[in-house]
Amino acid sequence: MTDDPQHPASETVAPQHLSPRVLAIHPLRSLRTFAIPLIGVVILGQGSSSSLVAAAVGVVFAVVIPLLRWVTFTYSIRDDRLQIHQGLVSRSTRTIPLDRVRGVDVSAPLLHRLFGLAVVHVEAAAGGEAQDEGTLDAVTAAEAERLRALMLRRRQATGDVQPAEPRTGPAYARLRRRWFLYAPLSATYLLAPLALLASVVGFAVEIAGQVNGVDEERARRIVEGVLGAPEVVVPVLAAFVVAVPAVSVLAFAVINWDFTLRGRDGSLVTERGLFTRRSVSLERRRIRGWELVEGLLERLAKAGRLRAVITGLAGEATRAQLLPLAPRSEILATAARAVAPFEAALTAHPPAARTRRLFRACLPWAVGAVVAWLVAPWPLAVAFLVLAALGVPLGLDRYRSLGHAREGARVAVRSGSLRRRQAVIEGRAVVGWTVKQTWFQRRVGLATLVVGVGAGRGGYSAIDMSEEGAAEFAGHVTPGWVEPLLVRAPRRGTAATDPPTVS
C-alpha cells in the first residue's frame, strides 16, 4: 500500500490494507496493556518455565493478532460506498453509502503521530435512527486527509481530489494561549483535577492494600490521624487550592492545544490537542445554527463556549464544539464568521416571568425549610432557608437571562443562569412549534414556546413569553404555516410599546 493510490483522480479507492506501520503500533499498544500483568506473571511465577511460557504466549498474541487483523482488514470506496472487509474466520463486510456519511473525524494519538499515522472515524446515519460507524485504525496522515476529502466532497463532482489537500480554508478562529486561564472558571475543567486526584487516591489505597495488607481498620486510623493534625491538613489544603486551578489549566491546554476552526470542502473543521491531535469535520449543510453556552463564573469573566447546532451527530457535547473557551466578543465574532451572524438585541420577557422565576427558585427550598422546621433538627431548616434566600438572586438572574429575538431568517432564544445558553437557529430549520402552558402560566398570561429543530438538543425553549408574544413570534418566523392558525383580537389596554430588551 502506498500513500499515492492508483486512481487519485477518480472517486474510487481500490481495496487496500491499512498502513503497514500499524504493525509497529498495535503490538506496542497491546504490550503497554499487558506489560504489568506479564511482569506480574513472570515475577510471581519466579521465572518458572510455565510462567515464561505464559509470557511468551502473551507476547506472541500481541504481535500475531494485530498482524492477522491487518492482513484480513481491507477497505475500499467504490460506487459511492465505503466498504470495510474484516475478519479471519467469519468475514464481515460493512457497507456505508457515502450519502449517509455524516462526519469524518481524524484523530492522531501520540503513538500514531510518531509514526505519521491517523485514525479515520466515519460516522454515518443507519437506515433508522441508530448510528452506524466505521473506523480505520490506522492509515497514513496523508491518506486520512484524502479519504476525508473524498467522503465529504462527493456531492461536488469535481473529479479532482488531491491527496492531502493543503489547509487552504480560512481560519475562523484560533485559540489564544491566554484563554487557557479561563479553564478554572469552567466546571468541566475544574472537576478534571478532582477526578484525577480521586483516581490517584483510589489507586494509592488499592496499592497500599495489596502491598502492606493494610486493613480497613488501620487505614481509618491513618486517615483520622492525618485529619487530626492541622500541620498536615493546612498545607495540603493550601496546595490543593493552588493546584486545582493549575491542573485545570493544564488539562485544558492538553485537550485544546492549538485549537483551530477553519472551513474546508464545505465543512467546518476543528483541530485540537497537544498529544492526541483530534480533528472533527462538521458538514455545513447539516449545521442549523449555533449555541453560546456560559457558566456562571465564565459569564462573570465575559467568557463562554461556542457550539454548532448540527443534525445527526453523536457525542455532540464535545464534537460540535466550535470554540472551547473564549471571550464572549470573540465567540460572537467567530459565530458570525463561521456560521451566521446574529446581532439583534433580545426581547425581555414580561414582568410576570420574573415573579414566576423567583417563585420557582425559592418556593421548593422555603417549603423544605418549613417541613424541616417541623420534623428535623433546626440546622437543616436553616440550610434550607439559606438556599431559599439564594433563590432570590438566582431567580432574578434567570429572569434576566430570558429573551428571544428574530433577525432576518434566524431566531434566538436564551435561558438559564448557572448555565446560560443562547441558541441561534435558522428559521428554515424549524420543524415544529410547541406552546406549553401550565395552569400557573395561564393565570398570568404566559406561555413557553419551544422551537423544534431536527438538530442539536431537538428543542430550544423560550420560557415564559407572553401568550400573544409566543403566537406572534412563531407567526413571524414561519408565517406560511402559522399565520392561518392565528386570530387577531382587537388590541386591549394601552397602545403597545416596544418591549424592553436585555443584554
Binding site: R288, T311, G312, P350, P351, A352, R428, A429, V430, V431, G432, W433, T434, V435, K436, Q437, T438, W439, R442, G445, V450, V451, G452, V453, G454, A455, G458, G459, Y460, S466, E467, E468, G469, A471, E472, A474, G475, H476, T478, G480, W481, V482, P484, L485, L486, V487, R488, A489, P490, R491, R492, G493, T494, A495, A496, T497, D498, P499, P500
Partner: protein, 189 residues
C-alpha cells in the same frame, strides 16, 4: 401581555398589524369514547399507585413493627386513603376535562393539536417535515374503536400525538399525511 409603559423606545414594528395574535383552537374534537379510554387508563394507573401503598399499610397493620413510631402504625391506613384521594381527580375529573381541551386539525400545511387538562400544550407540525406517521391501537383502544396517531419529525419538539381518534379517521389521516409528506418533502431535517 402586560406591556412595559416605562420603555422609552418607539412603537414596535409588529404593532403595525392590528390587534394581538392568538392561536385559535384546532377545529375538531376527538371521539367521545376517549373519555372512557382515559378513565380506564387512569383508573389502572391509580390502582397501580395505590396497591403497593395499601399492601404496605396492611403489612404494618398485621405485623406492628417496633421500628415504626406508634403514631405511624396507628394511622397507617391514612396513607392509601391519601393516595386514593390524590388519584381520584385523575379518574373523575381529568378525562372529561381532557375531552374539553383535546382538539386537532389538519390544515393544508400543518398538523395542529391542542392537548392537556390542567396544563396545556399546542403543537404545530408542518406536513413537509413529517418523517413518519404511525397509528397505534392498544387493547383498550381496539375495544372502543379508537386509535392514536403518532406524527414524527426529526425533532421530539416537532412531533405530535393525537389520542382518541376514531380508528377509521386515524387510518385515513395517516394515509393522507404520508402521501402529502412525500409530495411536500423538504430537504432540511
Amino acid at each position: 401581555m402586560a406591556t412595559d409603559s416605562s420603555n422609552p423606545a418607539g412603537p414596535h414594528l409588529d404593532s403595525l398589524t392590528v390587534g394581538t395574535a392568538q392561536f385559535r383552537p384546532p377545529a375538531r374534537r376527538v371521539a367521545r369514547g376517549a373519555i372512557a379510554l382515559w378513565t380506564v387508563e387512569n383508573l389502572i394507573g391509580v390502582a397501580f399507585a395505590v396497591a403497593p401503598v395499601a399492601a404496605f399499610a396492611w403489612l404494618v397493620d398485621a405485623t406492628d413493627p417496633a421500628w415504626l413510631p406508634g403514631f405511624v402504625v396507628e394511622h397507617v391506613w391514612w396513607a392509601p386513603l391519601l393516595a386514593l384521594v390524590l388519584g381520584a381527580p385523575a379518574v373523575l375529573v381529568a378525562p372529561t376535562w381532557r375531552f374539553a381541551v383535546h382538539r386537532w386539525e389538519v390544515t393544508a400545511d400543518v398538523v395542529y393539536t391542542r392537548s392537556g387538562w390542567f396544563d396545556r400544550e399546542w403543537r404545530l407540525v408542518p406536513i413537509s417535515r413529517i418523517q413518519t406517521v404511525d397509528t397505534t391501537r392498544g387493547l383498550l383502544e381496539r375495544m372502543l374503536g379508537l386509535a392514536t396517531l403518532d406524527i414524527r419529525t426529526a425533532s421530539h419538539a416537532g412531533s405530535s400525538k393525537v389520542e382518541g381518534l376514531p380508528a377509521g379517521v386515524a387510518a385515513a389521516i395517516a394515509h393522507d399525511l404520508a402521501r402529502r409528506a412525500g409530495a411536500l418533502r423538504d430537504d432540511a431535517t
